[in-house]
């Protein structure tokens, strides 16, 4: 039976190595055949916002196409795709209160709205829980 990892993240996109590291941990867990629950709250609810757009980089002198800016919504979409391919479950909850206060409710397919009770339920059910604090 597949093991389950729960991970709680709270950093917003594009501002911290925590987000990248968290997504790499999720990626690795999925590749190892684990089910993964993600509880995104505070700024992390913006990781999956559908309206994110790539941009050119005037300092690099690159166009949108050349820059190939990795948007976090695409990284998360790729994690859902990978989970499907590997036959494991990725359950991603965006904290509803955090979403509302930020007006960040237009997401890609995959995440669902929830709250701390979801996190608590997952903690009870999971083999391990990892919290990634912000600084």
């Amino acid at each position: 039976m597949a093991k389950t990892l729960t991970i709680s993240i709270m950093d917003p996109p594009y501002e911290s190595a925590n987000s990248t590291t968290s997504m790499r941990i999720i990626d690795t867990a999925i590749r190892k055949g684990m089910n993964v629950n993600v509880f995104a709250f505070e700024g992390a609810v913006s990781l999956t916002v559908k309206d994110q757009k790539p941009h050119p980089n005037p300092v690099h002198g690159t166009s949108v196409e050349e820059e190939k800016h990795p948007l976090t919504k695409d990284l998360v979409a790729g994690l859902f795709e990978l989970a499907k391919e590997k036959g494991v479950k990725l359950d991603w909850v965006n904290c509803g209160l955090c979403v509302d206060e930020r007006g960040a409710g237009n997401w890609i397919d995959g995440p669902r709205r929830g709250g701390p009770p979801d996190l608590y339920k997952w903690v009870e059910e999971s083999d391990a829980t990892l919290v990634v604090p912000t600084k």
Binding site: P13, Y14, E15, S16, A17, S19, T20, M23, R24, D27, I30, N57, P58, V59, H60, E67, K68, H69, P70, L71, T72, D74, L75, V76, A77, G78, L79, F80, E81, L82
Partner: protein
Amino acid sequence: MAKILCIVETPYRGTQEEHDDATLWVTHALKKAGGEMGVLLRGNAVNYAVSAQDPSGVVIGKFPIEHPAYPQKDLLKMQEAGIPVRVVREDVEERGIPLKSLVGDFELVSNGDLAGLFSQYDQVWHW
């Protein structure tokens, strides 16, 4: 024209997602906008001066990071553009980073030199 020194202390904040360090990026952008800028790396950010760092090869889900940030290369471009880059020597040494592993083009400064350095600028921005 204001002369501004940007002190960078917290490195690798979203650099994989952004393809660069946001503080270095805005410093370079301000230079292009006409500012007279300087950079001082201190604390953990001294690692930006290590020449052999290589962040390539990261794949998240189905998405490879094709153009990861190479801060040492960005800093060299900044220096070529007229932004002097300095590194706090003591912060390098206390982290056990060999001095010979740093990009040689950057100036090493000691903590004792910082007050004099700051006096060369109109404003000092500690990011």
